[in-house]
């Protein structure tokens, strides 16, 4: 194992994870809101926010899928040292990390069952930037409506139709984070 993989974890895990989780919870409770998430220094191409989110939510109990370029030796070594999550195929993943294009097709991921809709995957989608504008979002956590630039609208509309089943999404870029749970209705502008 190279020394690079040993670096970039939390310095003070209980406190840094607490702040990171609070940001992630606020993001999930208020779709479209951009939060700041810091603490981890993961190897490229993983962003600071995505790395911090993995450290906060993942451990040996959460099978993880790495999509496309994210499935490289440096990332695998970092995850195996700091997190210990098994790297698995999309069908078995509780969490998945990658770009939008690499994560497609979404139909491979678990959407939960009628009796256990929580047994569904959470996708961490790395983006160039997170910004308002673009599509209109409605649903729980949003007072009237809000806007967010999304990679597309169709996939999220299909996902929302599965409710209470479906996938939940985090979007990360640099040290920024936003979320889109299955309840959010997306309308193309």
């Amino acid at each position: 194992m190279n020394a690079e993989a040993l670096r970039g974890g939390f310095g003070d895990a209980p406190v840094e994870a607490a702040y990171a989780f609070r940001a992630a919870m606020n993001a999930m409770a208020r779709p479209g809101t951009v939060e700041t998430l810091k603490g981890a220094q993961p190897p490229a191409p993983v962003s600071v926010a995505a790395g911090t989110l993995l450290l906060t939510l993942c451990d040996p109990d959460t099978p993880l899928h790495l999509a496309g370029d994210y499935d490289c030796d440096a990332v695998r070594a970092w995850i195996s040292f700091h997190i210990g999550a098994r790297i698995v195929a999309p069908e078995n993943a509780m969490f998945a990390l990658g770009t939008w294009d690499a994560l497609a097709p979404l139909s491979r991921f678990a959407i939960g069952t009628a009796e256990y809709p929580d047994r569904s995957a959470t996708l961490i989608v790395e983006r160039e930037r997170l910004e308002q504008g673009g599509m209109t979002l409605f649903g729980p956590g949003i007072k009237d409506s809000t806007t967010m630039v999304l990679p597309e609208s169709k996939a999220f509309q299909m996902n929302a139709m599965l409710f209470p089943l479906g996938l939940d999404f985090f979007f990360t870029s640099g040290d920024q984070l936003a979320a889109l749970p299955r309840t959010t209705k997306v309308e193309a502008a």
Binding site: V15, F21, M25, N26, A29, E115, D118, P140, G141
Partner: protein, 293 residues
Amino acid sequence: MSDYNFAYLDEQTKRMIRRAILKGLAIPGYQVPFASREMPMPYGWGTGGVQVSAATLTPDDTLRVIDQGADDTTNAVSIRKFFEKTAGVQATEETAQASVIQTRHRIPEEDLREDQILVYQVPIPEPLRFLEPSEVETRKMHSLEEYGLMHVKLYEDIAKHGAIATSYAYPVKVEGRYVMDPSPIPKFDNPKMEMAAIQLFGAGREQRIYALPPYCQVVSLDFEDYPFEASKADHACDMCGATNSYLDEVIMDDAGNRMFVCSDTDFCASRRKAGHMGAQAAAASAALKETAA
């Protein structure tokens, strides 16, 4: 700080609880199973709420713990002390100062803000449990959206008592999908659940976490001809004179004298501080003046 890990629980447990909270927020009203831990207090003392709070708190938080609206009951005092010791957080007895409020069976009177989190202690999270004892069956009923039994129960109330007699833990439907137990809050509090704050529910013994994101649609079940009514004692607070707050009835002596007083202690105290006075408070202060003179 102490020799405890921040907020008592170990990190792997917190990650497990945090994942359950996120799924709960993504599926409002659905009870997410979680591996509830033994806490240094007995089941029934709010271990679910304590575990949710422990996974949610940051060192910057200010915590308020209330039991039926009051800060000074054994349950509230011990939980507040627990987090002061294990998480080193600030404690407060004022709703407006708090960023996290853990509550047993009440929602504060004051409207909560977007930057606040309300954590409920839940004894029995399953609203259908008293109608159907089997978890296998109730899970199936939730999956099929089969809530007829609950309406039959409310109907039987009307047939027997002439009105829906359920006065606390009044079932609600969340976002038109899941029927949810709002924990044993009085039904007076039900309309407040469509709020700006995040609401998290923890049931320790029953090992369930559920949640409501802000501005989530929460409808109390009822019938067209017997609409839901957020009832309270038909009286004003004897201490602060408020007519819009939920009241506790306190027996004063063996002769059956009683007084009604706000159950939310902070709400009542801040109104009295602002100069409002209820009937018995006014009588007492008049008597006091007489003795002084």
